[in-house]
Symmetry: C2
Subunit: 237 residues, 2 copies
DNA sequence: CGGCCTGTTGATGCGACTCAATTCAGGTGG
DNA sequence: CCACCTGAATTGAGTCGCATCAACAGGCCG
């Protein structure tokens, strides 16, 4: 086996979808994977195009978006290194339901649909992982729906800040600081709003002293108030 | 095998999740299933409670809701006879992410988690069906997210009307008529709005002559305009 | 240096929620 | 059989959140 394939196998081993797989299965996966690279701004697949497989991000960042006729867009997921996307497209016949766009120069592995399905039918552990992955996605979308319909922008932003802090530091505490993983306009689309509103909402959080922010670097001053805000409901009483 | 079980097997055979299964697998499923009935208004499971299994509706109607602290609620799915719900709860560890409430007196079959998982690992066809079911759910939630973030209430309502017409008549054409499957307040929560707004929006559709409506019975007069409306985007240019 | 993209800030308008009053249907009890 | 109650649906007036439009500042690159 080529040196490169051995490396690639180690990469796959760390990915949730492939965790706990034996060497044989990983080798099969490595043989299946096609390397695909995309420059910043490139469209990886278009909503409505026939679904041919799914991807793993090795490096870079990808957004999955729905866009409306008048140019507004909503970001369903922001996907980073080690994460998979378009998994569900493998099982539902029909086209991709969203568009995938590289936000940075991105390097991915692509798994074509049919061979992957064959592999899946021979690997119960991989199947279990896939079921768990889809369930997590459902959970995530459920949360987004809840937030979008029941919470206002400030609550969604507060929640996002807490989530990012947790993701990057493993905990939430005063004076922790982190970088926003994406441009503010993209973040706005992810939160279901637009740049101007995000800017204002962020400014209000800063003015109230709950957080500090400078060029995309956030510092949490008062986690308690943030958590209170995040739970807050729309059109409060 | 008891007469009742034979009947129940025939019921299961018609359900998407169990389609294409052989007799043995269906027998196993029948042995697993527990009959559970709920009066109108009863809570079937609560968000946050440990997930113990999933359900099939034999008769009645169930809503899956997220509710906010101040009492507003958002309906993620309205589930009717022959449909399954809480499937994903079987794979993601952790509690139910939503609350299930019977909107009418409802009769269900309940499949407990662990035994079903064992059965699943011995039935590749059932596994494939489950993957497809979860993918469809993902697709559905994706659509809801898109609508909620990019479309206004009138567009969501127009789309819902077209969907219901298609579901009940198999086609969309002028002068087709159908019953709303649920009370208007519930429909409003499903569309991500409230009763008053739904009432007004419906009134405007009636006034413009696109549809007629009387006590929950809808008549479509002009499908073309409805479809145009349904595609329309929020805050139109 | 001049364009371009991203982000910020202000003024304005529209959609949708809130609150409140009214009507109507269905179910209950005297 | 009718008075009563409760919950659902409708309608009006008022407010609020957020999108739109527009102007402008800063950073990056050709």
């Amino acid at each position: 086996m080529a040196e490169k394939d051995v490396q690639r196998k180690e990469v796959l081993r760390k990915i949730y979808l492939f965790s706990g797989l034996d060497d044989g299965a990983l080798n099969d996966l490595v043989r299946l994977a096609l390397k695909r690279s995309f420059p910043r701004g490139a469209t990886i697949f278009e909503e409505g195009a026939p679904a041919q497989g799914f991807y793993i991000i090795l490096a870079g960042q990808v957004k999955l978006v729905k866009s409306s006729p008048d140019g507004k867009e909503f970001i369903l997921r922001l996907v980073g290194p080690g994460e998979t996307f378009a998994e569900a497209a493998v099982f539902a016949e029909g086209p991709y339901p969203v568009t995938g766009v590289a936000l940075e120069d991105s390097y991915t592995l692509f798994f074509p649909k049919e061979p992957f399905l064959r592999l899946l039918s021979n690997s119960p552990p991989l199947t279990r992982n896939m079921l768990a992955t889809l369930s997590r996605l459902l959970f995530h979308l459920t949360r987004q729906l809840e937030d979008l319909s029941l919470k206002e922008v400030s609550a969604r932003l507060a929640q996002y800040i807490l989530e990012q802090c947790l993701k990057q530091h493993g905990r939430i505490a005063p004076d922790l600081t982190f970088e926003l993983p994406t441009a503010k306009t993209q973040l706005a689309a992810y939160l279901g709003t637009i740049g101007e509103t995000l800017s204002r909402t962020l400014a209000r959080l800063k003015a109230s002293g709950v957080i500090d922010e400078d060029k995309g670097r956030i510092t949490i001053n008062n986690p308690a108030i943030l958590e209170n805000l995040a739970g807050g409901s729309k059109y409060h009483k």
